[in-house]
């Protein structure tokens, strides 16, 4: 029983630091901002609908008194209809503009802004990842990244489609066979973050996980040269 009573408390506690909403890079922060913004706008819509819904169902329920009433015929109401066409358009523009801006921001388009960027080749295969650094060093289970330095991932797959996802650092990018996709991200906090394959890829899709360790730049250099 005690355990059951814990459930709502656990639910609230775990709601506070959902990984996607606990960003550790600019990219993930931008995405979290969009999530909060769209959530806010949409909650407003839900509230309006809920309010009207509850009012109407309570107020116009069939009772003993109105059982035999014949409601007045009503074709529609132009003003009201214009309101609920135009108002959502305005709300959606409010969401569309930041969506376009941030989508361009988080996408890798051609040149890197940073000459010092770290390039990592990521290869997905059933059912493991390979991370290859510029000096040819490879890791599988752990992806080590320096803090505050732009990282550009070059991703490709040896077999089926996978998807590279570190929720706290950035949204996912698919890993396709015979093609290179790219993702840029600048980790801003040290720590260890979960990484997963997010595109269903076969028998052991669930086990295709890795750890992302973000460490200080100096530590990163020693780590890389020691390997």
């Amino acid at each position: 029983m005690k355990k059951l009573a814990m459930i709502p408390i656990l639910l609230i506690l775990s709601g506070c630091n959902l990984r996607v909403l606990d960003p550790k890079s600019q990219t993930a922060s931008d995405q979290a901002f969009l999530i909060y913004l769209s959530f806010g706008i949409m909650m407003f819509v839900v509230l309006v609908v809920a309010l009207l819904f509850i009012t109407f169902t309570v107020k116009y329920r069939e009772t003993e008194k109105n059982r035999h009433d014949i409601p007045k015929h009503e074709e529609g109401n132009r003003t009201l209809e214009i309101i609920w066409t135009v108002f959502p358009i305005i709300l959606l523009i409010g969401l569309a503009v930041p969506t376009v801006m941030i989508t361009y921001d988080v996408s890798y388009i051609g040149a890197s802004s940073d000459d010092n960027a770290l390039h990592v080749n990521v290869t997905g295969e059933q059912f493991r990842w390979t991370f290859e650094y510029e000096n040819g060093e490879k890791t599988h289970k752990t992806l080590v990244l320096p803090k505050d330095r732009e990282v550009i991932f070059h991703l490709t797959s040896k077999d089926v489609i996978h998807s590279f996802w570190v929720p706290k650092l950035a949204g996912k990018i698919d890993v396709l066979p015979g093609e290179e996709t790219r993702l840029k991200v600048t980790p801003e906090e040290t720590g260890t973050y979960q990484g997963k394959c997010a595109e269903y890829c076969g028998t052991l899709h669930a086990d295709m996980r890795f750890e992302t360790k973000v460490i200080k730049q100096a530590e990163f250099q020693t780590w890389l040269s020691k390997k």
Binding site: L11, L18, L21, L92, T99, V106, S107, E179, Y200
Partner: protein, 642 residues
């Protein structure tokens, strides 16, 4: 389980054995029960009749059967995910992949789509004053193709070869390089056969609605369910052939060594484009008819006409149109580039506008009405908030950059269950309770219906609401396992409890149907709900040729106004030559032929492909030289001349 048979080691999973044992026990029992109840003449009647109500009933019965099968899959999924690092029965790895694939595929293709087509079959001709669908024979062919496709897909499990590439069957995973064996051939052939049936049904519905409306029933006077059916049929006509082509290309890749979806010239993303050019309209194919059902029910149970009829129709059409140009929002993470991503993000957001118009019009239909809360209306009332919640997460998903976080997580799973269960499943339940008297002449018990509703709705929200949070906490779709550190245990645990509540609510439905048919109750009458549209002007269950003398329509909701003015509906003097229901076993023959051919392709047995193909072709030839409608039409013309 390992069996040593004649020196050969055979590996048999226990779930397949359990399924066979269950079938061997229950099969004879069901056959005995049917014989004892003298049900065979009735079954034969339904299997050979081209009457639209009977065909609609067959659609609904098989959809419900598949609903239970796919529902059991869902319960297995929830049992495997109930705690972290769980090992439920055999459902890890490949077996888990098989059950989520069959769950998704069945629910979309063999439950949601045919359930709505079944309801269209029952209600649309009656609502527009037609005596039957335009092509009754084609209609019977459609239902046979659906049942055949569904059965082929259903059978896969019994041969331990259930498809395992997800309901989206993304290449190259679905090609023979990565999933050898017959498994995904079942997916291709099952969908190909039933998809053909869906296309035929759409053609039939389009022609019926455009050609067979009663005199005076202009398109602008049509109830909203036929309107939704019309637009849905158009969408099917555009979308399903794309699926057929995609499946054919995949079949060539799997069986004949072509390389459309991999290799030098092919590309795996081609599959995704083709699949979603079909797949996104499919979502609206599922939603629009449900919108139509709700519009009719909300209007009837509020005792008021539909608010903003014109904008309701315009919104339906606009959703259909926009639905054709948003497919790439399923592919934001593929790397199409920010231009394509933002383009599809904005078209997707635009769909919210007509959908919003519909929601407000429903709400304002209720305003100043008299809302009678009986089971069909209860489902409609449950639909509005549920669907709005699914709709708003849809807009959140449309935001391309944010979708890169949501994509392929449980957030998406929660979203599409909110919209599909919210609209299609609640809509179908509402429709079944609403038109049940028109189908059988009896009313389903209202009290049990309310129990069903509340248990289902509460179970539904318990199941799917926590999944939003699980997704935001980084739980991807289609995983059979998660760890304690993932922090998603609580969400999954609640989800599993909710799923069993939904399952329990379906047992109430069975009990309700049993109870309704056990008692020898008198007929529910032509108009048990105080309806507004034409279907309530004919006896229940609807007879063949209900509109021998066509009603003449001068405004919307004709029956309502006739009742208010205490007048009979005016009707024509002559009856119009209309499609006739006949008995035919030809579609049954076609169905057997296609089953043989499909199994030939699934297992690559060429003699079976030739045999089945030739037999299918023969059935077309037989049909070309035999038109059983001729004498019936001649008789009808003679009657008119007298």
């Amino acid at each position: 389980m390992e069996i040593n048979l004649f020196g050969k080691l055979i590996l048999l999973p226990t779930d397949v054995i359990a399924a066979w044992v269950l079938m061997i026990i229950t099969g004879p029992l069901v056959l005995y029960w049917l014989t004892k109840k003298r049900a065979w003449p009735v079954i034969w009647d339904y299997a050979t009749s081209t009457h639209h109500r009977k065909i609609g009933t067959v659609y609904i019965i098989f959809s419900i059967l598949f609903f239970f099968r796919a529902g059991v899959d869902a319960l297995f999924i929830r049992l495997q995910l109930i705690t972290p690092e769980n090992q439920f029965w055999v459902f890890q790895g490949d077996k888990y992949n098989e059950i989520f694939t069959t769950h998704g595929t069945m629910m979309i293709f063999f439950v949601a789509t045919p359930l709505l087509i079944g309801l269209m079959n029952v209600a649309v001709p009656l609502q527009i004053g037609a005596n039957d669908l335009a092509f009754p024979y084609l209609n019977l062919v459609s239902v046979y193709l659906f049942v055949t496709g569904g059965m082929i897909f259903f059978a896969a499990f019994f041969f331990n070869a259930a498809p395992n590439a997800g309901w989206t069957a993304y290449a190259p995973l679905s090609t023979s390089t990565f999933t050898a064996g017959p498994n995904n051939n079942y997916y291709i052939l099952g969908l190909q056969v039933s998809g053909l049936g869906t296309i035929f049904a759409a053609i039939n519905m389009l022609v019926t609605i455009l050609r067979l409306r009663a005199p005076g029933l202009k398109l602008t006077r049509m109830p909203l369910f036929p309107w939704a059916s019309l637009i849905t049929s158009f969408l099917i006509l555009v979308a399903f052939p794309v699926l057929a082509i995609a499946l054919l290309l995949l079949q060539f890749d799997r069986q004949f060594g072509s390389q459309f979806f991999m290799g030098e010239l092919g590309h795996p993303v081609y599959w995704q484009h083709l699949f979603w050019i079909f797949g996104h309209p499919e979502v609206y194919i599922l939603a629009l008819p449900a919108f139509g059902i709700f519009s009719d029910i909300i209007s009837a149970f509020s005792r008021k006409n539909v608010f903003g009829y014109t904008s309701m129709v315009a919104a339906l059409a606009l959703i259909g149109l926009l639905g054709l140009m948003v497919w790439a929002h399923h592919m934001f993470t593929v790397g199409l580039g920010p231009f394509a991503n933002t383009f599809f993000a904005i078209t997707t957001m635009m769909i919210a506008i007509p959908t919003g118009i519909k929601v407000f019009n429903w709400l304002f239909t209720m305003r100043k009405g008299v809302i009678r809360i009986q089971t069909p209306m209860l489902f409609a009332l449950g639909f509005i908030p549920t669907f709005v919640m699914g709709g708003v997460t849809g807009v959140m998903l449309a935001s391309a950059a944010a979708d890169m976080q949501y994509h392929d997580t449980y957030f998406v799973v929660a979203h599409f269950h909110y919209v599909i269960i919210g609209s299609t499943v609640l809509g179908s339940f509402a429709g079944i309770y609403y038109w049940y008297p028109k189908i059988t002449g009896k009313m389903l018990d209202d009290k049990l219906g309310k129990w069903h509703f509340w248990l289902f709705l509460i179970g539904f929200h318990l199941t799917f609401f926590p999944q939003h949070l699980a997704g935001l906490n980084g739980m991807p779709r289609r995983v059979y396992d998660y760890t304690w550190e993932d922090g998603v245990f609580v969400y999954n645990f609640i989800s599993s409890i909710g799923a069993f509540m939904m399952g329990a609510s379906m047992l109430i439905v069975l009990w309700n149907v049993y109870k309704t048919h056990r008692k020898k109750e008198e007929n529910a009458g032509a108009d048990p709900w105080d309806g507004r549209t034409l279907e309530w002007s004919v006896p229940s269950p609807s007879p063949e040729h209900p509109f021998e003398k066509m009603p003449v329509i001068s405004r919307r909701d004709p029956l309502w106004w006739a009742k208010l003015e205490k007048k009979e509906l005016p009707h024509t003097e002559n009856h119009r030559a209309s499609p006739v229901s006949v008995k035919t076993v030809q579609p049954m023959f076609l169905s057997v032929a296609l089953t043989i051919m499909s199994f030939g392709f699934i297992y690559g047995w060429i003699w079976m492909q030739i045999l089945g193909g030739a037999a299918a072709l023969a059935s077309f030839v037989i049909r070309a030289f035999n038109d059983e409608r001729k004498p019936a039409y001649e008789r009808e013309e003679m009657d008119n001349e007298q």
